[in-house]
């Protein structure tokens, strides 16, 4: 039978997106690698180069981080499950808290569970393609920490981040990929 039978209707995230389409998207990335039959749960991983070249991701400055966060090996190589994970979180239907949590992870470049200044600087430089001067970058990062850091430890914890992001009017509409 076709592979997507496995997650036909009872899939935990079946309400987020059309699964079979996602599966074919995944398969189209590397038809020679991904089998149609997933009943045997083959251990297939697509390398980051393939994932990152998807049209949905290729222009995203955070594509590498997204792939890393959602891949099980932390290096951007994705199994089908990881792939589904990624698009379920980034789908329109995913709840705000879940999105906020993953957004936090995406922006946490050094994986230390806090957004510290270096994370913020990286984020900012990716967003502006290094067009701000160092002075400006420092100032913006200081401002961000000043605004959002509730416990004053000089870095943003998950709580700080969530507190800030749930109030953002554009978060839900921007942190979302249609596939």
């Amino acid at each position: 039978m076709l592979g997507h039978k496995r997650f036909s209707c009872n899939h935990p995230s079946s309400t987020f997106f059309p699964l079979s389409r996602l599966f074919y998207r995944y398969r189209d990335l590397a038809p020679q690698l991904v089998p149609l039959d997933y009943t045997g749960q083959p251990d297939v991983r697509l390398p980051y180069e393939l994932i990152g070249s998807m049209p949905e991701l290729k222009d995203n400055p955070f594509r590498q981080r997204i792939a890393e966060v959602f891949s099980e090996d932390g290096e951007g190589n994705m199994t089908l499950d990881d792939f589904l994970d990624m698009f379920s979180v980034l789908s329109e239907m995913a709840p705000r808290d879940l999105k906020a949590y993953y957004a936090f992870k995406i922006y946490d470049f050094n994986n230390d569970d806090f957004l510290c200044k270096s994370d913020l600087e990286k984020t900012l430089n990716k967003l502006t393609r290094n067009e701000l001067t160092e002075e400006e970058v420092r100032m913006v990062c200081d401002k961000v920490i000043d605004e959002a850091d509730l416990d004053n430890d000089g870095r943003l914890s998950l709580e700080d981040f969530q507190h800030m992001i749930v109030r953002a009017p554009d978060f839900l509409s921007t942190f979302h990929i249609r596939i």
Partner: protein, 905 residues
């Protein structure tokens, strides 16, 4: 991942006792079924009591990875012997119970081994299961722990329950058990089914890996499927589905019917159809027969002012004053008035409701200043962008917006050379006011001139269409002029945009109003003219009858009615006004379309293809492509809508024309944007919520309401055309209806209601209510600001306190520094081989999972006792330094975070 070996290791951990003590195995499996992690903990505890020499080692093995084990340890210290006896006692009892149930201990143990296998299988396939168990079985685990200390009877029950539960996992021997379920068990089972269902429902809100979700889901669903049927709930499913469907249908009905109601002038559907036809006729003719635009306009003008359109359903004059039509007594004049006024009422309501909703959504506007930079940083990238060009633009726009905010921030601190800037701003405003006045005068002048032209016949097409052309040209030329002047002011771009929009709006509105006043001038002239025509027509009619009787010499015979085409007609000023509005709308459409065609499309073609043979880069530098001006277009829509509101009373067909225009312009502009435009270099929203534009819409609605209501209330309608002909005022229709069609008491009621003595107090009351609500909202705002200030103060205080302690208490600070550092280091080789081995295997990438697991814990129930056995190598490490589980769970095995140092003994 070497999960298999894992499991084996675990089995060894747990299974020592099983092998050693077969009669004990029942309990062990129970534990495993209920909550896998505690099993090890308890095993450890028991192991301690049995093998005192290995106690220490066991302890430390379990400490880092098993909170429950740690807990148990504490309990065990005091209740060690206690526990043992308790452990033994229920065993015996359970043995009895089991015998009763299954008829033999042999079977029991067989059972157990089967379950054992099932467990093994589960563990193999379900790496995440342990973590998941937290959710559904947390409480149970807790209960279990307590139950031990509590009644034995209780414990027995629980064990039974666990058995049931386990059978769901293993699917091995549930049937025999189900038969003998008691009432209480049923209850518990039901609860559990509910719980599982809840887990399934909330699963997608959990930040788990897909694999884990799948496994957990399957498990839960298997359980639910199995036991829902047993509980007799499965049968209800169909009925439930039916019910849901029915409610959906029922709920859906009114919902689906709303859009149809939103078309405000339902009676005018025919009018719209007809106008569609006419419009297409015009287009078809002209596009085929005429090469130039000038000719087109002439033709069109001819068609409109002298042709058939004037007497078509498009305009006011088409409708007659027959009081009731047909069998159903459709009251045309009344409905004409009601629809005209009702449209305004409905539009007002919709606009105000939308504004209120926007204000509600933007209720966090108070926060706006709080997170400017954070939001810019974390929400400005649109993940939907999948196009390199768009991405480039987005980068540019984000960079500018950051720069903007930085400049803002800097400007907050300093402000210099304020005098020059003030002077420039005043100058700019002066120039713009001059422009506005000039354009107003120009329009006034043109309207006056067109009135002169109206008496002549030898007009060129320019003279005929002067007014519309001038207005469109002004709309075309002035906005860029304003933009240039606004450069002087050096406002913040967002403020500048608002000024710009406000000015364009003022220009449009000024033009419209000038036009309107000039029109009213004309209307007054026509009213004068009408009087004489009226006399003339009455005289003509009398003469006709006199002639008729004179010629026929037969006083008995009545004169045949005059052919309507022969009657002397009045000027019908309403239709004239309607024609002006239609002309304005149509010329507006033409100008818009031509602007797009020439200004955008031709420009794009030139830039694109001439670029191959040009001295400089056309695309990148000077002409480049046209930018799509969002705010200008929105403003155009708003203005257009105002024109429709104003004109619809005199020319009902205008609505149809506008619908057509909007439909076609949507596709046309969409094409133009995609094909020829580039996005604005600097995108600015005029405001966070769209209330800025809605406010403009409301203003223009109000302003277009005024002239219409003025005419309805004061001007006498034309005597020979339109639904109100023959009445002194338009609203007399209502009086007439009240007098003739409604019962008498309603008439008196209305007369009371219209009494100034009643109206003035009502207005007074409303004013008071507005005042009251206003002051209440102000008070709330004040309180809000106060609270915000308090929060800020608390934050600052905290900060200060922190700084102070840091500066004064050096020793403490050193200590504090020391602690997190220690936990931040890669874990020192601990005495326990297991934990050390584990942390050594941690890959850098798995650090992310660390976070995940913590999140799990904080998302699910806060039970701190849920810890997994750490025998599995790299996968999710135990919860980290989240505040919720800081004091309990930080162990030596976890390398990162700033938890407390591991408890060492």
């Amino acid at each position: 991942m070497p999960r298999k070996s894992d499991v084996v290791a675990k089995m060894e951990d747990v299974g020592i006792e099983i092998d050693g003590d077969l009669s004990d195995s029942d309990e062990d499996t129970n534990k495993r079924r209920g909550n896998r992690r505690p099993a090890a903990g308890r095993g450890g505890a028991r192991g301690r009591s049995k093998k005192p020499d290995s106690e220490d080692e066991d302890d430390e093995e379990e400490a880092p990875r098993n909170r429950r084990g740690a807990n148990k340890k504490k309990a065990a210290n005091s209740h060690d012997s206690d526990e043992k006896s308790e452990d033994d006692a229920p065993k015996r009892r359970r043995g009895g119970a089991a015998k009763k149930k299954k008829g033999g201990k042999a079977q029991d143990s067989e059972d157990d081994t089967e379950e054992e296998k099932g467990n093994k299988k589960n563990k193999k396939g379900a790496p995440g299961k342990k973590g998941k168990e937290e959710d559904g079985k947390d409480k149970k685990g807790e209960n279990k722990g307590k139950g031990k200390g509590n009644g034995k009877e209780d414990e027995k029950d629980k064990k039974k329950k666990k058995k049931n539960e386990s059978s769901s996992d293993t699917d091995s021997n549930a049937d025999s058990e189900e038969e003998s379920m008691s009432e209480g068990e049923m209850e518990r089972l039901k609860e559990e089914v509910e719980e599982k269902k809840k887990i399934i429902a909330t699963m997608r809100n959990k930040p788990w890996r897909m694999k884990r979700r799948l496994v957990h889901l399957k498990e839960c669903q298997a359980f639910v499927d199995k036991f829902e049927g047993a509980l007799g709930k499965g049968k209800g499913k169909k009925f439930y589905a039916y019910k849901v469907m029915m409610t959906k249908v029922l709920m859906g009905l009114p919902y689906g019917s709303i859009p149809r109601k939103t078309v405000p002038r339902a009676e005018q559907a025919t009018a719209q159809d007809y106008s569609v036809l006419m419009d297409f006729n015009i287009r078809g003719h002209t596009l085929i027969s005429t090469p130039g635009k000038g000719h087109f306009i002439t033709y069109y003008h001819f068609f409109l002012s002298q042709g058939y359109c004037k007497y078509s359903v498009l305009f006011y004059g088409y409708y007659n004053n027959q009081r009731t039509i047909g069998l159903l007594k459709f009251r045309l004049p009344l409905s004409y008035l009601m629809v005209g006024v009702g449209t305004f009422g409905y539009s007002l309501m919709v606009v105000i409701r939308t504004m209120a909703k926007n204000a509600d959504v933007g209720g966090g506007d108070g926060d706006e200043g709080e997170f400017t930079f954070s939001w810019k940083m974390f929400t400005s990238w649109d993940y939907l962008i999948g196009n390199a060009e768009t991405a480039d633009n987005k980068y540019a726009s984000i960079t500018t917006s950051f720069k903007e905010s930085i400049v803002d921030e800097q400007e907050n601190q300093k402000d210099e050379n304020i005098h020059l800037r003030r002077f420039l701003r005043v100058l700019a405003n002066l120039m713009i006011i001059c422009c506005l006045g000039g354009s107003g005068y120009l329009i006034f002048f043109v309207v006056k001139r067109s009135q002169e032209f109206a008496n002549r016949d030898d007009l060129s097409w320019y003279e005929k269409n002067e007014l519309e052309l001038i207005m469109s040209l002004l709309g075309l030329v002035c906005p860029p002029l304003f933009e240039t002047i606004a450069e002087l002011e050096e406002y913040h771009p967002r403020i500048a945009l608002k000024w710009q929009l406000g000015r364009i709006f003022a220009l449009f509105l000024g033009n419209l109003y000038t036009f309107l006043f000039a029109l009213f001038d004309e209307v007054n002239n026509k009213l004068e003219e009408e009087k004489s025509i009226r006399n003339a027509s009455i005289w003509a009619l009398k003469e006709y009858y006199a002639n008729f009787t004179l010629h026929n010499n037969d006083s008995e015979a009545t004169a045949p009615p005059i052919d309507p085409a022969d009657v002397i007609r009045g000027p019908c000023w309403e239709t004239a006004v309607g024609i002006e509005f239609v002309k304005l709308t149509v010329s507006d459409i033409q100008v818009t379309y031509l602007t797009i065609l020439i200004g955008d499309f031709a420009r794009a073609v030139i830039v694109r293809f001439l670029n191959y043979c040009w001295c400089w880069d056309l695309e990148a530098t000077y002409p480049s492509y046209g930018e799509f001006d969002i705010s200008g277009n929105v403003l155009g829509l708003v203005f257009n809508q105002g024109m429709i509101w104003m004109g619809a009373f005199y020319a009902p067909g205008l609505v149809g024309i506008n619908v057509l225009r909007l439909l076609s312009s949507m596709y046309y502009q969409c094409w133009a944007v995609m094909a020829t435009n580039v996005p604005h270099e600097r995108v600015f929203k005029a405001s966070k919520s769209n209330n800025f534009y809605m406010g403009l819409l409301l203003l223009i609605l109000f302003l277009s309401l005024l002239p219409v209501v003025y005419t309805i209330m004061t001007l006498p309608p034309s005597f020979d055309c339109g639904p109100f002909s023959g009445k002194a005022k338009m609203f007399d229709v209502i009086m007439e209806t009240i007098d003739l069609d409604l019962p008498a008491f309603l008439g008196t009621l209305f007369s009371y209601a219209a009494n100034p003595g009643l109206i003035i107090p009502a207005v007074l009351l409303m004013v008071l209510a507005i005042y009251y609500l206003n002051s209440v909202s102000e008070a709330y705002q004040h309180a809000n600001a106060e609270l915000k200030k308090k929060m800020q103060m608390a934050r600052d205080e905290e900060k200060n306190r922190r700084n102070n302690t840091e500066s004064t208490d050096q020793v403490m600070k050193d200590l504090e520094d020391l602690l997190p550092n220690r936990s931040l280091l890669p874990p020192a080789p601990p005495p326990e081989t297991n934990a050390g081995g584990k942390s050594a295997k941690v890959k850098p990438g798995t650090a992310g999972k660390d976070v995940k697991l913590q999140k799990d814990v904080s998302l699910s129930s806060p039970n701190p006792n849920n810890r997994e056995v750490v025998t599995r190598p790299p996968a999710p490490r135990g919860p980290g330094p989240l505040p919720g589980n800081g004091p309990l769970g930080t162990g030596a095995g976890r390398g990162r975070g700033r938890g407390q140092p591991p408890p060492r003994r």
